[in-house]
Amino acid sequence: MSSLTTALAIAQSALRTTGKQTSIVSRNISEAQNPDYTRRIAAVSSTAPGARSISVQRAVDALLFKNNLNAQSAFQAQQTLYDGMERLGLAVNGVENVSSAATMLGKLQEALQTYSSAPSNRNLGQNAVEAARDLVRSLNDGTNAIQSFRGDMDSQIGIAVNQLNDLLGQFKDANTEIVKGTHSGSDVSDALDRRDALLKQISSLVSVSTFTRTDNDMVIMTADGATLFETVPRSVTFNPNAIYSATTSGNAVYVDGVPLAAGAGGNTNAGGKIAGLLQLRDEVGGTMQSQLDEIARGLITAFAETDPSGTLAPQAGLFTWSGGPAIPASGTLVSGLAGTISLNAAFDSAAGGDPSLLRDGGANGVAYKHNTTGAASYSDLLFSYSKNLDAPMAFDPAASNGTTLSLSSFSTNAISWFEGMRSNASTAADAKAALATQTAESLSNLTGVNVDTEMSMLLDLENAYEASARIIQTINDMLRALLDAVR
């Protein structure tokens, strides 16, 4: 049926449509600065003569969004790792490694050499013992620093897990709203924006993959396939340890009963902050601790007192430990040894000991005395200690720092291992940050609001509105002409 009445109805509906489109444009402009807002597009479709319906569509690019999520979670993990390593390196090795075990070991070697060139000088003996004391302190402090760092990481994991559970709870609200709205055909763009923003936050904590079921119902899984959200949030559980010692192994984070994998490597394969924190706590903190433990074990072994006649077993000399005077088993890691290593009181003049035992031997009894004649210039034993430090010895592979090498190389390698990993982490953090920024930018180019486009759209709408209003006016004039004819 086409008539003036129909024309009037069409013009009216055109006005309504233009009005709605204008409101969408104005919403777009008002949210132009919101990074989580996705541009709305008014899709107009004709259903019947004189009737047009508007559906609000969101500018989406699912693939790019997914890429952005992955880039964000990789970046978060890398940044967490890098920041943590910076802190840990400073706490354990000091600025420019001045307080590291390797530096202290070098100083001890120097002091030993000086002492061995003038064994009669008691002051030089005292200096060597002081250098040994500094080395012990460095190892003890390093252990404390690592363990308090692990404790820190542990409590941060706890906080992140709580955050994650909270985010998943909010995700449920947004998701339920979307499912209901989608099925009944109402506009759920705001809820979709909210859900996407939540997903971004979730993926900064754990690396996720998602799929969408009917009615836009989203299911979230971790990158390993454990279910995070399906209709209802799954519980993410973590049991934090209040205090860490070298022998404490941290608890895993369970997602729906499946442990979350920690990252590995300097250019970490982890996604999300939690995996990065787990890597810092277990891989980085744990390896660093075992390296210190191996250095401590190497020291006790290198400075062990031997029986000149070779019948008695070697016993702890300048350095001793909780298991002393026995020597720790060769090539086997003793967890926490760096924390319990101490200066043997027999050598420590502050504790009533005698530093010259270093020259003569015999801290463990007369049987272990090498300088039996009491010669003031006896330096063989001091030389043998220096030699021990440079002689290859066996190390536990658990310390990931070589198995057969000298103690001084082992200690410097420990630093290179850490610095190498840190520099990898730093380079990777830059690369991943660039990728994250780039994907975020392309996503924003595609789905964000471009004010210029909106303004030109507004001009079009203005013209369309004026045209429709003109039609109504014309029809009105025509009907008036007809009514004037009725007298």
Partner: protein, 421 residues
């Protein structure tokens, strides 16, 4: 031939135009009435036999036509229970006494008992879906009940079917028989785990833990556990008594990575306090990629009240519950007759069957030539003001002309009467 005849013809013309003006008046008055169908007049000449040389004027017969089959424009509204039919057919409604009528006026709102009633007070009829999918009674109004939506009802549906699709990592390590999840030992390990929400008979959420474990090359065990029976420690194993709901073995084709033709393709188990649930696993794959869930859904819903009512184009009335799920409550049929324009028009924009219209045929929207239901729209009257106004002017002129005929006859009679003085 006679002046009286001519005068009577003028009167019949005036009557005819008066009829036409009445339809115009009605049309203009109802130009804004939802579902109103324009009436119009058609005239037929009435000829009185006359001999050669003389002419006896007859008259004009009026018959009223209704443009019932002509569809009006749609007016879109914000109410989901405002209905219009796009295409042929009528809603079946009944009045307070239960007499059925047909109408296209679909401005329905629930009354105090939840029945959908339109502006003229007629109740919408539909087939109830309470006893399964409804079917129509093709040639009568039998089986139709008023569509009643009780908003205070709570319902729950137990889960009966589901789909789970995932890729199982082909290079996973083989787990020893003693450590399989189905053995439910403390040392049980699985290659992959997921969980799904299902609903029991009372609509309580039951969390199902799904374990996939490689037992040999291309052979996987699937075990389903009730999460509520899980051990409270770090590992959910061992589950408490009755925790294991079902287990089965999937075998994969080593070349395609898809399920082997001989493999089971679904697993059926009883949801605790619920129905038997069949989980379709037919699209599972075993490729050399990490474990990834690709699709997972289970039907059923938690107890929830009706949030709103939705009516589909095929006439299905759904209740949408607060949790987002849907349930079919009624199906609204559409009735039609062979000659809709000849239906008897009654007050309230309703029509009833007449001897000329033919018998009522009932079908579902969109099927067999019936129109489809548009929710959130109303059908305007099909009156065009401009057309009515022109008709009115035309009638007015015609009426005046007829009155001139009558007046001329009367004047001539006057002359004739005045001949005798």
């Amino acid at each position: 031939m006679s002046l009286y005849g001519m005068m009577r013809t003028g009167v019949s013309g005036m009557n005819a135009q008066a009829n036409r003006l009445s339809t115009v008046a009605d049309n203009i008055a109802n130009s804004g009435t939802t579902g109103y169908k324009r009436s119009s007049t058609e005239f037929a000449s009435l000829v009185i036999p006359s001999g050669t040389g003389n002419y006896t004027s007859g008259g004009v017969n009026t018959s009223i036509r209704y443009a019932i089959s002509q569809q009006g424009d749609f007016k879109y509204t914000t109410s989901g229970s405002d209905l219009a039919i796009n295409g042929e057919g009528f809603f079946v409604v009944q009045d307070a006494s239960g007499r059925p009528f047909l109408t296209r006026a679909g401005s329905f709102v629930p009354d105090d008992q939840g029945r959908l009633v339109n502006a003229a007070g007629f109740y919408l009829l539909g087939y109830s879906a309470a006893n399964g999918t409804p079917s129509t009674v093709a040639n009568g109004f039998g089986g139709l009940v008023p569509v009643t939506i009780a908003q205070n009802e709570l319902t729950a549906t137990a889960s009966k079917t589901g789909v789970f699709t995932a890729n199982l990592p082909a290079d996973a390590t083989i787990v020893a028989a003693a450590d399989l999840p189905s053995a439910n030992g403390a040392t049980a390990t699985s290659s992959a785990k997921s969980s799904l929400v299902a609903y029991d008979n009372l609509g309580k959420q039951v969390m199902l833990d799904l374990y996939y474990t490689k037992t040999a090359d291309n052979t996987w065990e699937v075990a389903v556990y009730d999460h509520s029976k899980a051990n409270s420690g770090t590992t959910p194993f061992p589950y408490g008594a009755g925790g294991l709901l079902g287990t089965d073995t999937l075998t994969f084709d080593g070349t395609t990575g898809k399920l082997d033709a001989t493999s089971v393709t679904n697993i059926t188990f009883n949801v605790p306090n619920g129905a038997s649930l069949t989980l379709d696993l037919s699209k599972m794959t075993q490729l050399s990629a990490k474990y990834q869930e690709l699709d997972a859904k289970v039907d059923g819903n938690a107890p929830s009240g009706i949030d709103k009512i939705q009516i589909d184009a095929d006439g299905t009335v759904y209740a949408q519950y607060e949790d987002g799920s849907f349930k079919e409550l009624y199906r609204i049929p559409i009735a039609t007759v062979p000659s809709p324009d000849q239906l008897t028009v009654e007050s309230g924009n309703v029509f009833s069957q007449s001897s000329d219209s033919g018998a009522v045929r009932i079908g579902f929207p969109g099927e067999g030539g019936m129109g489809s239901v548009v929710s959130g729209a109303l059908e305007n009257s099909n009156v065009d003001i401009a057309e009515e106004l022109t008709n009115m002017i035309e009638s007015q002129r015609s009426y005046t002309a007829n009155s001139k005929v009558f007046q001329t006859g009367a004047d001539l009679m006057d002359i004739l009467v005045n001949l005798k003085r």
